[in-house]
Symmetry: C2
């Protein structure tokens, strides 16, 4: 992947077109920020009316600059933007940032201007951020190419967090909150209308930077699917956590998206599946996004979910144990011997976990220190939290308490140590400096710890990824209606197993073929014009002799010809009838943004009433397919209920992975595939699709029913 974003996000020289002497104006703010930050590279204000702007030598035009800048910040009105972009392109500027609104989000005229900008840039090989964006900053490089008002109260310090946001307002808001929380932010990119660079590509660049432990992202949709998947894979490999706010999940929300920046929102369910597939945490609230980014900012992701809880009040301990269970954490009891030690120190204590030292420990702080250090040394916990309420806020008692806690945790760097408290920010910061994560709310804390554990699991998946089955040689997919028989032949070559199947032409005697296959048999009409065979009486089950097959075939041909006189009839197909197992469904469809997506679910009421299905973008390996299968709410059905044997999950996973690879390889030729039902037979006996339908791209199924 060629890096064309470093000029934009880590430039050596910057031009500001529309630079203003007034540091409160859009054209004045970036210059002010760059001046205050002490940016080391060249700064070229462009302003035809002044020789000097905010102390920098000004130039009348892009063409007149003494050198070609890496980035040009365009702080001019919409009407002047196209011309400014053209001048940048002519000068050979690497990248441009367009602040102005008034483009695709407001009118058709605006959309036309935006398209013109994109065209000019593409032809010149110049990259464009925006229009209608708040720009970027790279705090490590003292580079603040934005007019966001959050910098009015001080520049953002660099740190282990980065922000990529389609919405400038959201990006500013979350950054304001992060700063209040004491978090430093290294990179900050807002993409606005995304006429060229989208959130995916910006994310791809950011996760490749060293020292970024977590990225907070916001998008209404994604345009560049491949960059997005590449970014998520890179983040997983580099162990960078991503906490994503994707809006537009509700109907009204999605409608508002389309009237906002006109993003290709795609299906929210598919987007959600992609995030899950790559171990991205999808935040549903701003507070959650921040709480999890805060936890991940240390770059420590625990190996297990074992959490030790220390409390001075039983009620708080119970509440946190509940929260921890909700978050998927393991509130494992202390070892028996360690419990005994705690009981000796304080007979009233509850030493299991939560460990409740009662209010007594507050009056005898050395007891508290011994309790906590025993938990850390002997509990086997990867995470520890203490619940402290407003105690740390006390001016007299607080410092003693902090000392007692510090003594307890010194030299325990491998454990994630947390506290909950209600205290002023400076008190919380003082604990953070000693290595604690500090939360006001216990629920938010446990939820964030649960996310850390899942991040670790997902990072480890990148290492453990299966060798996927080799991609099949691309098949020749006819761009027309495809019969079931053809579909099965094509998919068989992709490694998907069906029952053996023979086509019998209308004039032939089916007897010998039937005898060869064995009984009982299923017979189905074969016609490219009849994808829904039952509607025309084109399916016969449980045929047990050659004579039954002959009779059924004559009757079926007559029935179908009567109901669908225009349908082209190739004959009937015969295949052994199998039964037992669990009915599932599998299929693929093409998401407008994400491309081929595989769907899996249980048949019957599970899919019809409960919509119990799950998705993955193609392609994926068998291990991922196993995880997919286990997401189904009715998964217990596949483990065997009412004495039924467990299903062949491995065969099912193999089928789903192969299907995903096939759909990926033929993304251009195929719109959708239906395998419905797929019979998941008992373990060792396979997973067998009983029907197959491939809809070729652009092909329409003509209904030939009279």
């Amino acid at each position: 992947m060629t890096d064309t974003l470093s000029a934009l996000l880590d430039p050596r020289s910057i031009a500001i077109v529309g630079a203003s002497e007034n540091a409160a104006r859009i054209g004045g703010r970036p210059l002010r920020y760059l001046r205050e930050s002490g940016f080391k590279g060249a700064i070229y204000p462009v302003n035809p009316n002044r020789d000097n702007v905010q102390g920098f030598t000004a130039y009348p035009s892009i063409a007149s600059l003494p050198a070609t800048p890496d980035v040009a910040i365009l702080a001019v009105p919409a009407a002047a933007t196209v011309e400014a972009v053209r001048e940048c392109a002519e000068r050979g500027v690497s990248s441009a940032i367009v602040f102005s609104a008034g483009f695709a989000e407001t009118s058709e005229e605006g959309r036309a201007m935006q398209n013109e900008i994109a065209d000019i840039a593409r032809e010149a090989g110049m990259r464009v951020l925006g229009p209608n964006c708040l720009g970027v900053f790279n705090a490590r490089a003292n580079y603040y190419g934005t007019f966001s008002a959050i910098l009015d109260t001080g520049l953002i310090e660099p740190g282990p967090v980065s922000v990529v946001s389609q919405s400038g307002a959201y990006g500013s808001h979350i950054t304001h909150l992060a700063r209040q929380r004491g978090l430093g932010i290294s990179h900050w990119v807002t993409t606005g209308n995304e006429c060229d660079i989208d959130v995916a590509e910006a994310l791809r660049w950011v996760v490749d930077q060293d020292g970024v432990n977590v990225v907070m992202a916001y998008a209404e949709g994604i345009r560049n699917r491949d960059a997005f998947i590449d970014a998520l894979e890179t983040a997983r490999r580099r162990e960078t956590a991503i906490v994503f706010m994707k809006v537009g999940r509700s109907e009204v929300g999605a409608h508002a998206v389309s009237s906002h920046t006109a993003a290709l929102a795609g299906s929210d369910a598919v987007f959600d599946a992609v995030l899950k597939q790559y171990g991205v945490h999808r935040a549903h609230t701003t507070a959650e996004q921040l709480d999890i980014a805060y936890a991940a900012s240390r770059g420590i992701f625990p190996k297990t979910g074992r959490l030790g809880i220390f409390t001075l009040s039983g009620g708080f301990g119970i509440q946190m144990a509940d929260d921890a269970a909700d978050a998927g954490l393991d509130v494992a009891p202390m070892p028996e011997t360690a419990q005994g030690e705690l009981k000796e120190i304080l007979p009233y204590a509850s030493p299991v976990n939560p460990v409740d030292a009662t209010a007594q420990a507050l009056t005898e702080l050395p007891v508290m220190t011994r309790f906590i250090s025993t938990m850390l040394e002997k509990g086997g916990y990867d995470m520890f939290t203490g619940i402290f309420g407003s105690g740390p806020a006390s001016p007299t008692f607080g410092p003693m308490l902090r000392k007692a806690l510090e003594d307890a945790v010194s030299d325990k760097d491998d454990v994630i140590k947390c506290l909950t408290m209600s205290a002023p920010a400076e008190v919380m910061r003082s604990y953070e400096e000693k290595g604690f994560l500090v939360y006001e709310d216990g629920t938010a804390l446990t939820h964030a710890l649960g996310a850390l554990v899942r991040f670790r699991q997902n990072f480890d998946l990148a290492k453990a990824a299966d060798v996927a089955p080799a991609s099949p040689a691309p098949a020749d997919i006819p761009a027309r209606a495809i019969t079931e028989h053809e579909a099965k032949s094509i998919l068989t070559k992709a490694g998907i197993s069906f029952t053996p199947e023979r086509l019998v032409t209308p004039e032939a005697d089916p007897g010998p073929v039937a005898d060869g296959l064995g009984y009982p048999l299923v017979m189905k009409i074969s016609s490219p014009d009849l994808p829904h065979k039952t509607e025309v009486g084109g399916v016969a089950l449980s045929l047990k002799t050659a004579d039954e097959v002959r009779t059924a075939m004559s009757a079926m041909l007559a029935r179908v010809r009567a109901k669908a006189p225009d349908a082209r009839i190739e004959g009937v197909i015969l295949t052994p009838m199998i039964s037992g197992g669990v009915e599932t469904i599998a299929g693929t469809f093409t998401d407008p943004t994400m491309g081929p997506v595989v769907m899996f679910g249980l048949g019957g009421v599970f899919v019809e009433v409960l919509k119990d299905v799950t998705f993955r973008v193609a392609p994926f390996d068998k291990a991922e397919a196993h995880r997919m299968i286990r997401e189904i709410r009715g998964f217990a059905m596949l483990e065997g209920v009412r004495g039924a044997p467990p299903a062949d999950l491995d065969a099912l996973a193999d089928l789903l992975s192969r299907l995903s690879i096939f759909a990926h390889v033929h993304a251009e030729q195929i719109d959708s595939i239906d395998l419905n039902p797929v019979l998941a037979l008992p373990k060792g006996r396979g997973a067998v699709p009983l029907d197959a339908l491939i809809v070729a791209a652009g092909a329409e199924h003509h209904k030939a029913v009279a």
Copy 2:
């Protein structure tokens, strides 16, 4: 209900046993708070070593007090408490508060002391709060009978909120947070070990006080079921919102409950159902509890969920629309004509809902005012919110913005008006004074608004409650194993309909009975010793002639006698076989805390794999049963899927309500009832249980299978 709690919670005179001159000690704090608050009634410190404590005349003992106090606060160690309680009882004190820990929560000796306290009090007719509690306050009466340290930084002002908490630490914490949020608290009761008064009874008293709009409650379990239900019914009738934190929902949490104050936690699922049944909001986080109490504190509960959203940034609007959808709110579009008016004011605006006036409205505040007043006047919204980020925090711009908002909303008192902002507390308070609800987080806001709508719906249910079917005359329930035939006879008298059924003794000819019933028939073995008939081959289906019935009966009797030689065989029962409809299950069981509980679910995979069942405490009316049925995830099955007709929901609701009344009336005699399956037939054709099992209290079903 006799009010025995007013002496405790609104006393005219107070004794403090163990009163201390040191205002930082447990025996000194309440005296200090009462002194500072200016409590109007008599205050009697009891201290044998001093004549005067903190300026009040002190007395050597309870017996020596010049008058009998309404309440005695016992601030003495555990070892001295029993004697102090005895002295109070002898003096005829109405109620005592026991602060000390060291009772049932720590040891068997402690439990014995606690029981002694309870015994003494019961005999004397004295009420006891605690032990191991933080006491109470009634801010309206300047009465602060607590040693909670949260009063160190100032007394709590009275207001529309009250707090009832088993845990003193939790009660203090939530009150500390409520004060930070600007909420006044009128009543505050912490119940600790609950040797006498529990959360239920305290809640019952609090919801009966005027001017309490919302109660924040915390419990690990409930002891007094009837007081609890009475409290919830009273709150609903008086339109008082309850926001409940019930901990111990996880396995570890429940275990920690039992090692904490030894509450009868009961089944969390049943507790959850009770809260739902009575329209109580169950909070899962402390932040949520506070956010909802804050919204409800105004005592305005909207008639519909219509929410108008105003934003200056599309992204925030989309996010809030998503949140509103999650919260069950209706982000209804503005009327077309009103949209036109907004478009005329600002062509770039998105006038639908969310209404996005873009950042333009910030530079032209009169535009914003016109937008918002148009939304309020013409949108038909019961709730309005504006999204403002950090704008209101600006010292220069903030006041102008506040003016513009105030102008927009003046005279719109019937609409709940909200704002989100990130601003210092004093700025938020200034908006609250103008009638706005102010939140930092939009998700928290919409979630709280959703709760307000549900509170209103539930308050209205109290008015609309069905006339429940008349309670049946109590039946005679034998305290032994009961046959299916007996069970059906008993339940028939309770108004539950079965198919007609005849018992045929082993020696009789079933032919005439069968002919009389009509065919096809079902035959089942009848024996008090064989509750599980299929296990012994005791069920035969689809019998179509008298001869088939005779043959089946002989075979069944032989089969059952072989398999269960010791079982008492009464004969077989015959009943017409019905089919079609949807399989459901209904039943009752006795919760250790809540008494008879009715369960309902769909049969088959729904109950076995998905555990898709729902609960209600008995008794309840048909309307409540209708709501119960609709809670099932697979409810669509009853509306008709795959072309099936909709089920007879009214008959099903009638059955569930009658079952609940029957279980309630016979709570002492019956442990459980199973109606499995209940066939929900198509609309108009009824809901028919095909089997019935009643387990009498104390009776055991002996398995007679060999």
